[in-house]
Subunit: 463 residues, 2 copies
Amino acid sequence: MYNITLTLDGDSRVPLYEQLYRYFAQEIQSGRIPAGTKLPSKRSLCAHLGVSRSTVENGYAILVAEGYVCASPKRGFFVADLTPYAPPQPTPIPEAKARPQAAEEAKVNFSTSIVDTSAFPYASWAKLNKEVIYNSPELLQRGDRQGEPALRRALAAFLREYRGVHCDADQIVVGAGTEYLIELLLQLFDPEVVFALEDPCYAVTWHCVRNSGRRFRFVPVGEQGISIPDLCASDASVAYITPSHQFPMGVTMPAVQRSRMLHWALSTPERYIIEDDYDCEFRYGAHPIPALQSMDRNGCVVYIGTFSRSLAPSIRVAYMVLPVPLLARYRSLFGHFSSTVSRYEQTVLARFLAEGFYERYLRRMCNLYRQRCTRLTARIRNLDPDIRISGDGGGLHFLLTLPDRSEEELYAQAAEAGIRLHRLSDYAHEFPPRPSTVVLGYGGIRDEELEPAVELLRDAWRL
Amino acid sequence: MYNITLTLDGDSRVPLYEQLYRYFAQEIQSGRIPAGTKLPSKRSLCAHLGVSRSTVENGYAILVAEGYVCASPKRGFFVADLTPYAPPQPTPIPEAKARPQAAEEAKVNFSTSIVDTSAFPYASWAKLNKEVIYNSPELLQRGDRQGEPALRRALAAFLREYRGVHCDADQIVVGAGTEYLIELLLQLFDPEVVFALEDPCYAVTWHCVRNSGRRFRFVPVGEQGISIPDLCASDASVAYITPSHQFPMGVTMPAVQRSRMLHWALSTPERYIIEDDYDCEFRYGAHPIPALQSMDRNGCVVYIGTFSRSLAPSIRVAYMVLPVPLLARYRSLFGHFSSTVSRYEQTVLARFLAEGFYERYLRRMCNLYRQRCTRLTARIRNLDPDIRISGDGGGLHFLLTLPDRSEEELYAQAAEAGIRLHRLSDYAHEFPPRPSTVVLGYGGIRDEELEPAVELLRDAWRL
């Protein structure tokens, strides 16, 4: 008979019958008690372990109920055939792919994804949070799948006033970040639809489309945004663009081009434009440019925005405004889904908007970023008369071109000196990007770091 | 010349040049000023409006920069050709599809999606929130894309102890709800992979797979869970199952069947099992059944769980444990993505787990639901000796079969009496479900409502 090495622990929180069950289940699973083995009779096990009959009975009953053991009337208990699996093949867990040259190692980090949260009205935010959470147990229950109505109303008002977006709160879908909304959006289109992506473009958009298995084409970006002749020549019927401040080129699409984009969409049924207005809150020109959506009278533009750049990266709230036909499709496909954002966070954000905190914060940050951009670009221009800066009319990054130097040289020399920046070609795919160009984000460059950062660049590039 | 109806408002917050720009941009966009029209000269407009020259110059400069207007040297300013779009076709916004027989209308709501939050330790939750939010401004910055390490460590410990899941915190991916994680998971498999779904099954799982455009097959569910012979006969290579408490049948897959499932997965490379342990926290039998994942030694099981049922529907936090090969694929495909859950909520949840609140709450709720289930099923059985209850060994729902009555009759009579319940066929697809059966969730039936609810059922069904 199989040798029982079980000792029960009377002081454990785990009941004795459960200990007994676990022991046998494990021994059987591991193959240490082979299939067909007869287990000790209840009576002899009671005696062996010095426990009550009910302990053994309960333990055996579970083993039988779970199929580890078969009870054969009058004959006893036999181990079931759970033919052992192939021997375990321990595979080491892969290291998480480090983001190239992690922030903590870089002396100066010109990453485009850093947002300055040092001026965030943290005390007000915390207070709103406290007020909402202490007073709203009802928010534990399931909310509206498109997002809290109060947040959508506040958003509709904000988008109308600041971006000229015409929409009803009912057309807004709130979701946990732009990536999530893009994944959802892709599913609203026919599986055979071909998407047009700007080249160069934001990596995450590209990854979303690629991962979804959808068909897509790259269309080159010129001085006026996506090339409309190339778009028209392609078989794409949904174009994903960043007209206010193309990422990463930083160009703004002029009204005539916007008008042509709308013509492109209207010229064939079921064509759509996805307008990603990812950093629209920060414009340093004389006036904010209204969204492309504001020119659309035919419901062919999907407008997407996010709070992750305007507030903080960890605030995972993005939103999209769906034209009516897509809204209907969304409701039929996703009617059973729940919102991906905490109702508490949504409610706090709704108050943050409705009570004017957001507007005040944006004004402050827009000034802060504008000044930073102006100071930084002025100092960089001073380094060398050949340096060309572009795309600095808004957002949190600009392009730096230094003719006669290769992009790789600029990048490598900066990296050598502990400066993290992006190559323009990091964002490019099929079309050769402007040569000798790197991309500098300044969300992470604080005022006091600005001068040393420029000096470091000068030394790295030997200017 | 075009008749200018513009009046500038010197008291507005909007600068005069901006008002001027907006007026012309709108008039041009709408087609009220036709393409080719010559705008008034700067000088005459200054005189006409009684404003400074710089106001007009700034306004015109923006119009030119945006492409609304072309400046022709020495000739003046001409409206660009933004050929007017097709006339607006106002489309009414569709009504949101109401969930059938909304909760507020039903006298008694046996929906399976309601969770009882009346015993939720709201004060402790609010206090943890306050502590975290007042002390952690650093959480505004971007966090780990797989989820906060503290939460993943707490989860790994919980899953090990309560479900026998063997995993490292590095294998866990936290996401905003099960739907989100399923969508992400689907993308980790080859586009040609065929998924097996249980029939009947949870509607949201099915919608996720269908919306993604992936190929899938339904496999019937028997008394021991998914039919393994049918699964083997299909061309599926990834099976999505609920072995602990099949939804909606409520059956538990015995160990021998689990072993066969693992054999199925191991018999061919690249086969996987997705184990959705959606309501594992509530088991009313003698002991909790370990997860299928706990028997897997070869990394072919993906384990999924959620806090939306164990805590509250609005807490949109789910998690999955990825086997190593899928983890590597996840990291290569989603390396650029951000977590979909607020870092604050994750940090609160990590403390809720680590400080024992979660365990205490689960114990309490498990008792509460067990007692409710026992009382409710006992009273229902008393109504008629033919009534058969099944699937009541755990979770928040059970099946009620009343032979000789059609499912439709049971459903319609209940609806007539203001009782909301589900037809079993609501979850079925290709295989005819057990006849005469309805599904009753009791998350929303409070203690004092229990007796009246049973009486209402009795009257509705004339028992």
